[in-house]
């Protein structure tokens, strides 16, 4: 994706602000004697956002391990619509995703979550939340 100059400037400004913020946090942390740079990284990017690609009538990866609280985004790269539906039909259920459409769900609790495409039920996948 190409970014415009304005967007780049904006990104630079945001980054700048973030760095300033980080410095502030760092100073505070140093002051309190507890240095935790990891929280700074967490504020800048979202670890645990994972993509499952739907291609050739299958979910890839078919089995995915994530941490509790992470978000999974499915994107359909096929020419036909697919859905993402938990096996219990309740926890999560996307609408039909046309080509390049996405669906996201955040897994709050640890466990094993099996899902399938309700249009092509041979398509199955699994999310393991630790």
């Amino acid at each position: 994706m190409q970014r415009t100059k304005t967007q780049q400037n904006r990104t630079a400004r945001i980054l700048g602000t973030a760095i300033l913020g980080a410095v502030a946090v760092l100073s505070l942390s140093l002051a309190s004697g507890a240095l935790r740079p990891r929280s700074v990284i967490a504020a800048q990017e979202k670890p645990g956002t994972t993509t499952v690609t739907i291609d050739n009538f299958s979910f890839a990866p078919m089995q995915l391990e994530i941490k509790a609280g992470a978000e999974v985004t499915w994107i359909n790269k096929d020419d036909v619509p697919h859905t993402v539906v938990s096996d219990d039909h309740k926890l999560f259920k996307s609408r039909a995703l046309d080509t390049d459409e996405k669906f996201s769900f955040t897994f709050k609790d640890p466990g094993t979550y099996e899902y399938f495409c309700s249009v092509h039920p041979k398509m199955v996948g699994k999310i393991i939340v630790k």
Binding site: F57, D78, D79, P81, A96, F116, K122
Partner: protein, 317 residues
């Protein structure tokens, strides 16, 4: 044009002339003629070119399938156009069909405007009535509510029904709802119970025609081309002397005969799908636009084994 192979170079029953002729197959339907309780089906292209013999019967009807209105990608960005071609071919029949069966996937994404286009297009069909069953693409986000509202009024349960025409009993089944993870098409307990009762009253000599979207026989389960509980449905039909099962879904013609039951799948009016196992997935085959018809035809030719005609002229029951 000759129906016989002139240059059978690869010994595969196809020559260039035949290949080109098969290109006329896109957007065609199947004409079924009931002759003395025996149902015969013919490719419309052949009927129009008068390549088939006696078509006069007690009843004739046409099956079209998988129009996928709303699909706009390779190999067919104009599925409404090819549906119109199919309609024109039906309208060119010397004897208009008593009715037309659409075996599902009217639309690609179950959108209201797609259903509108389909309905508008089919208004020009010269026939008394059109019967529908839904495909999985028609019931995407509402469990089939919109399809039912528009095409399934007066039907039983989730949309199944039966009717009689000229002594034959027609049964429309729905096998695209409530699909289970890892499974195939499903009829479900309620529908099976209804079917058992529906045919219980009929004489065994009554010709039966069942139509549903997903094949009611195991074409290729790895791709979901089959119905989990079809065996039970077929068990209710075993006592009948003549049973014809008409399906769509796989976008190619195939036929299987098992005892008194003949299984037949129709071409799509929209795009071809690969032969079972011949691709990574059953997705639409991407081919240059000018080859669209050719590929539909090739698929078709491959299933007419041991015959030198390139058109489908299905065997009798």
């Amino acid at each position: 044009m000759s129906d016989y192979i002139e240059k059978n170079q690869d010994n595969d029953g196809v020559d260039r002339r035949g290949f080109l002729k098969c290109m006329a197959w896109a957007g065609t339907g199947t004409l079924c003629v009931l002759q003395g309780g025996v149902l015969k089906s013919f490719a419309l292209t052949d009927v129009l070119q008068k390549n088939v013999g006696n078509l006069k019967g007690d009843l004739s009807f046409v099956q079209i399938s998988d129009s996928h209105i709303g699909f706009n990608k390779p190999a067919n960005p104009d599925v409404t156009g090819t549906l119109r071609e199919a309609i024109a071919k039906v309208n060119a029949l010397s004897t208009p069909p008593s009715f037309v069966l659409h075996t599902g996937d009217l639309t690609h994404l179950s959108k209201p405007e797609e259903f509108d286009t389909l309905s508008e297009s089919l208004k020009s069909l010269k026939t008394d009535r059109i019967f529908y069953v839904p495909g999985e693409h028609d019931v995407l986000n509402d469990n089939g509510a919109m399809f039912h509202e528009r095409f399934g009024r007066g039907t039983q349960g989730d949309g199944w029904y039966s009717f009689d025409q000229k002594g034959a009993h027609f049964i429309g089944l729905v096998n695209v709802l409530n699909l289970k993870a890892g499974g195939l098409g499903t009829l479900g307990h309620e529908q099976l119970e209804w079917l058992e009762k529906d045919v219980a009253k009929l004489k065994s000599s009554t010709p039966i025609v069942v139509f549903a979207h997903i094949p009611l026989w195991s074409v290729y389960p790895q791709w979901g081309w089959g119905t989990d509980d079809s065996e039970q449905a077929l068990s209710y039909l075993k006592r009948f002397g003549s049973v014809t099962i008409l399906n769509g879904h796989i976008h190619q013609t195939m036929q299987k005969i098992e005892g008194n039951i003949t299984f037949h799948t129709a071409c799509s009016t929209a795009f071809p799908q690969p032969q079972p196992g011949e691709a990574d997935s059953p997705g639409p085959m991407k081919v240059p636009a000018e080859k669209l018809r050719g590929l539909l035809g090739i698929t078709d030719v491959n299933f007419v084994r041991g015959k030198h005609t390139l058109a489908i002229v299905d065997s009798t029951l």
